[in-house]
Subunit: 593 residues, 2 copies
Amino acid sequence: MTRNPLVSDAFVDLLMFDALDVSALTAFDHFREHDRGTFELWVQSCRRLAREKLFAAYRPMDSAPPALSDGRVRTHPVMNELWPALAETGVINATRPYDVGGQQLPFTVATIASFYLLAANGAAYSFAGLTTGAGHLIEAFGDETVRGLFLEPLYNGTFNGTMALTEPHAGSSLADLTSTATPRGDGTYSIKGSKIFISGGDQSFARNTVHMVLARLDGAPSGTRGVSLFAVPRERPTNDGAWEHNDVHVAGVIHKIGWRGIPSLALSFGDEGDCRGWLVGPSNHGLKCMFQMMNEARLLVGASAAATATVAFYESLAYARERTQGRRLGDTDPTSKPVALTEHADVRRMLLEQKCVAEGSLALVARCAKFSDTAQHHPDGDERERAQMLLDLLTPIAKSFPAERGFQSNALAVQIHGGYGYSSEYLVESWLRDQKLNSIHEGTTQIQALDLLGRKVIARGGRALATLCEEVERDLATALSKGVDPSLVASVREALARWSALTQALAAKGLAGDVHGMMGHSTDYLDATGSLVLGWLWLWLAGATRAREGHFYDGVRAAARFWVTREVPRVHALAAVIERDDQAFLGLDERAL
Amino acid sequence: MTRNPLVSDAFVDLLMFDALDVSALTAFDHFREHDRGTFELWVQSCRRLAREKLFAAYRPMDSAPPALSDGRVRTHPVMNELWPALAETGVINATRPYDVGGQQLPFTVATIASFYLLAANGAAYSFAGLTTGAGHLIEAFGDETVRGLFLEPLYNGTFNGTMALTEPHAGSSLADLTSTATPRGDGTYSIKGSKIFISGGDQSFARNTVHMVLARLDGAPSGTRGVSLFAVPRERPTNDGAWEHNDVHVAGVIHKIGWRGIPSLALSFGDEGDCRGWLVGPSNHGLKCMFQMMNEARLLVGASAAATATVAFYESLAYARERTQGRRLGDTDPTSKPVALTEHADVRRMLLEQKCVAEGSLALVARCAKFSDTAQHHPDGDERERAQMLLDLLTPIAKSFPAERGFQSNALAVQIHGGYGYSSEYLVESWLRDQKLNSIHEGTTQIQALDLLGRKVIARGGRALATLCEEVERDLATALSKGVDPSLVASVREALARWSALTQALAAKGLAGDVHGMMGHSTDYLDATGSLVLGWLWLWLAGATRAREGHFYDGVRAAARFWVTREVPRVHALAAVIERDDQAFLGLDERAL
């Protein structure tokens, strides 16, 4: 397994220190006790955990998914070792403050370190990521009681956490949630309802599970404004400090095609009328609170998608180097020696496309993480606001681009393996299966597209859009000054101008009341935006190599060139389709489909 | 299951009788005993077999793939019913001449009927398709002895057939085959070697299996010119008319991620030095003979890919009609009733994209089949030659477009199902798995691209290219005359002109010795060609509706419009990338990847 590095250490170094300059984060008061050394130590310990423990458990967990037995879910036995290892390393609370037992690491550093864990074993890491999210909700919005009950055991791994939003009839439409919460008079609420697709909703390695549940208080308004957030443990505390059954039942295990190490469950709350929840945050503001976790979860999905594309890329690269087959274009001598697959033009295309998508996606997610740290901890309020705008705008892209293009990228990793890639004797097919979920969970690609165009790029009367353009232009100027090919910079500038004009034209349609004209092609718009953003980020990375020599730096510059010459032109092609705005398909009688 | 039609009967009628005018084939002497009625009867009997028997067996066969036991492969028990049903219906020899027991049906009609069988259960049908191919090789090239031994039992289903080309070390590179054949002096040959990825290479429903094996005679030239073709049965005939062990062993079962109903095997021939083969066709001309089967097999893969996209499209369409969720764009009233998924703009996009790819691919494969019938049976030699050129040129596209775009289309079918689509409780995930193989087996997409650009479009000094342009232009003129939107016709004409100019420019580079300049972007070229060809075919289909009214015809015209406005512009975008001809990635040191 050692031939697959999971993620390139050289790339991580370039990203962290040359491109993102994470050391500068130590200037923020919140991170003042850190330095480059503590950041490197953290990445190293996650890298080691990933390579030495998580990766070896990946295929066994994929092959023997959790099963229901006597009403409880048995996770793979190897999780009994991995979970303490994750908790003891400090993965669950790495970014949380010292006062709740955390290491107060920048989100950027934690995110980059998580790439290794996600590439090695996304399912195993996700138990931890979801637990962090649940803990963070309670830390941010919970009162003393809730924090006292659940925070420490979540952050130290005694309990695991989940987010329980989706209901079977409503799917993505959270406005239609029907789970209910009735005050019991003792400060707790009686919870009743069904949830589905709850990742990590039960397990056999931690003492208890705490679900962050969206439900409606009696008499709450309809729609999303009547939704409240509750912490609902599988076992609840008794007066004498013990824990007892809390009427949370596993109603079924979803047989997923990937992410098979972590169970996805249908859960019933309150079948026996005896399920208690603790309100977290103000009543009827549950969705607002939950969005903190959802935005974190969306970046986590992006990170997972990027890491899944990355590990598959390295696997197919190693295979292409080892496997000899056929001859170079134009060599018709059958007695010449077969060459490595890397010598075939189209295999190179497939490798470079994967490299661009995979490492470009890592860069996108890491850049978002830096905006998150800046938005929370920069001493200057304007800088915080600016970073928050950029984070908000980029989140739907960081969630969906790695998932959508990562799926294509993972298919290329299979393709490079030929018939072998189509068999479960090789690993690449499993990452293809894993990847597909990333365009569905935590808001489908379509929902991200609506969020990007209908909310994010038009935020603050155009300021978000202007800020992104300014940020891109700043990086392009820097890249130019660091020796990046001016023709590549010009290509991204042209695409940016076209995209910006398109965005303004679409916003104008929306303001004029033509909602279908604005939003009818939102997924194409998201697609175009992703191609553009990756072009920007690859030139940023190419600039960060500062014309240094060596194969690794050549590879970064080659990837930048490859993406900008091949993919950035898609922005114009997609813009033309969107501008043409053919709405015939929207008006078609559905019986004609 | 009845809610899924597998393939639309209305579409098949339009394709067969309005667009392809298959009735006209009865004017060829070879088909003179047929009429529209016998064609319809054949389609109906395959349709019924598909809907009533094959589809119900699809999931059971996917869930319990063949396994090795005591050296033999046990296929799913349901195949014991399906195989006789396929054979008795006449599926194996439908197109073969009356004098070998066939029905002498046009390949076009058989291909269209096969869409239903492939959509219902591609694995089950493939046993038959491969058996037809093996029988056809023996019929065409075998001497009296070989024909006498194998033809009847293959065509009546007593035996099944395979093609055994690939060897573990050589993959797609047939020049590097090392299996050997030594004359035994009795007219048979002693065969020795290992083959891999042999579909249907063993089974438990037919009496025997006949492998069509490529091997080298002692002292044969190296490369593809030293390869001969042999019929190698699992059990060979004895002098007294019985059958005995022929030293063919199953060395392993590949654990495929799809097509799980049909085993893919590693086979050893002659481990005990006692494996006999019968030469089929002239010595050292095996690859030429095999290409007949491979070209049929490539169209079969295209048909399978198209059918797999089609059945998944209908499944997701039915789901989108039944499932209510969320509200229309702009409706912010949470008390309004949720609408069907078909009302969401982006779900419509995903449905129409699937429709275009799926039904457009059916049309592409069926059109190729008609060229095949014309090439073989048209009374006019020029017409035969013309049709053969078009068939040759279109085969790599018909093999790869349905596979590549079908995979994206099948991913959309999963996406429309949301989280449910990611689970094996629903069928769509299985077609996504099945589809991936179609870009790999029978020559990968990359090999099809090299074939198209390096051989097919430049064939006969440019005549093949000119003939295709002429054929497209003829259909566009007809479409215009039948009321198809002139702006759509103009779009396809522009794309055709651009593509034709690009092709000539690439050919000129090749003639000047710049093989990388010509071939370095061949997969992009294949991609562009596919988008163009589908644009042509959709306008052809739209013209065939002759402006008739009704939801079905509206749907065909909407699909044509959708494809031409959204996808045909990709021809220009891809042409720009190819023309730019950035070869930096080819010169990169592989250590930089």
